[in-house]
């Protein structure tokens, strides 16, 4: 079946027809059973396409990808190696401080390597805040000196806002359920991500200054 009406049925289905054509086809459909049947079949094809499931490949493709990006990864690491090294010490202190702060909140002993850096909760939180401020200052310097272009700054600000929102949510949830191991871990992980993002951003700004 192929005629002036059936050829317009996909456009009709997708609302791609102008008003006069649509009204004419509406009138035709009222009296044409075969076109109504065909329209329903096309509608089912469209709906079926929307239900297709995405499937992963049969084999893991990551090893091949990893090999191909390895040289570029090394180049990027080289570019940021000096500022990253400078920032790494701060980041380590921050993560330790954040962990200690959380441990202090729980009132539980700190276990593992962080135990050596355990501090009272208030001190841990203060260390975290101080280091965040230090990194944000470095980022601000990058903004002011135009070391970071506006697009990069927007992307960073968006990411930081997202993470700050997640930290705020986690803190509120913890206030309601302070003993939750999951929430404590989630908050620590989210704080770690903020620290890492700020560390990378300040390293980027430093590298371009």
């Amino acid at each position: 079946m192929r005629d002036q009406w059936s050829d317009q049925l996909s456009d009709y289905l997708d609302d791609e027809l102008g008003r006069p054509e649509r009204e004419a086809l509406d009138a035709h459909l009222t009296g044409c059973v075969s076109c109504r049947v065909l329209l329903e079949e096309l509608r089912r094809v469209h709906a079926r396409a929307g239900m297709l499931r995405d499937e992963p490949p049969d084999r893991d493709l990551w090893p091949g990808i990893s090999r191909k990006i390895a040289p570029a990864q090394a180049r990027r690491a080289l570019v940021f190696s000096v500022p990253q090294l400078l920032a790494a010490g701060v980041a380590l202190m921050l993560v330790s401080g954040g962990t200690a702060w959380l441990a202090g909140r729980r009132g539980a002993p700190v276990v593992g390597p962080s135990a050596m850096l355990a501090t009272p909760a208030s001190k841990g939180e203060a260390s975290y805040a101080a280091a965040i401020a230090q990194l944000e200052a470095a980022l601000d310097a990058g903004r002011t000196s135009s070391a970071l272009d506006s697009t990069t700054v927007r992307a960073l600000e968006h990411s930081l806002a997202t993470i700050d929102s997640a930290i705020q949510d986690a803190r509120q949830a913890l206030a309601a359920d302070p003993a939750s191991a999951y929430l404590n871990h989630h908050l620590a992980d989210t704080m770690r991500r903020k620290l890492e993002l700020l560390r990378q951003a300040s390293a980027l700004a430093t590298a371009r200054t």
């Binding site: 049947v37 929307g50 990551w62 927007r154 997202t162 993470i163 890492e196």
Partner: protein, 182 residues
């Protein structure tokens, strides 16, 4: 286009951080992004170009994404950006591929395909039927009905006019209606 279809545009906090980390050279963060998106990208490659080249194309997409991460501006979700990058790469390579698939004859399909498949040899599943569409009809169908692109966008991607995109889509749907599960 900022959102392609439901789910693609959803970006978690963790993913936002992973994108930033990967852009600064963190391979582990990029691997997490790969794990999260490989199914969608591989399915796109398989449907657009065929299963025999889907693995290679998927790898190429992620290598290209790694190289281009510095240009990701965060204006769309990472998944949308990656998907568009994949479409561009797959279409860019289509001229050099030598497809060995057996295709429908578009004209014959329109004139002779039954409303519903009833013969044993026609019991292909829907995915197989898509794979056997002619290249142009298959690409337009996947981009429009599966990925959610509009005709104007498809026309720009394929270097055709929107009217041709609409016609190809109609041909594809006509051919595929015989392969719907009952």
């Amino acid at each position: 286009m900022t959102e392609l279809s439901p789910g693609v545009g959803v970006e978690t906090d963790a993913e936002t951080a992973d994108v930033a980390l990967a852009a600064s050279g963190d391979g582990r963060a990029f691997e997490r992004l790969y794990r999260a998106h490989v199914g969608r990208i591989h399915s796109l490659a398989r449907r657009m170009a065929g299963p025999e080249v889907a693995d290679d194309l998927t790898q190429d997409v992620f290598v290209r994404a790694w190289d281009k991460l510095g240009t990701f501006r965060g204006e769309a979700a990472f998944g949308s950006w990656l998907y568009r990058l994949a479409v561009n790469l797959i279409l860019g390579k289509r001229q050099t591929r030598n497809s060995e698939r057996v295709h429908f004859d578009a004209g014959a399909s329109l004139e002779t395909a039954p409303a519903m498949a009833t013969e044993p040899e026609l019991t292909l599943d829907f995915e197989d039927a898509i794979a056997r569409l002619p290249d142009g009809a298959r690409q337009v169908f996947v981009l429009h009905d599966v990925a959610g692109y509009k005709h104007e966008e498809i026309a720009a991607l394929l270097g055709i006019v929107p009217g041709t995109s609409k016609s190809q889509l109609h041909h594809a749907r006509m051919a595929l209606r015989g392969y719907l599960e009952r």
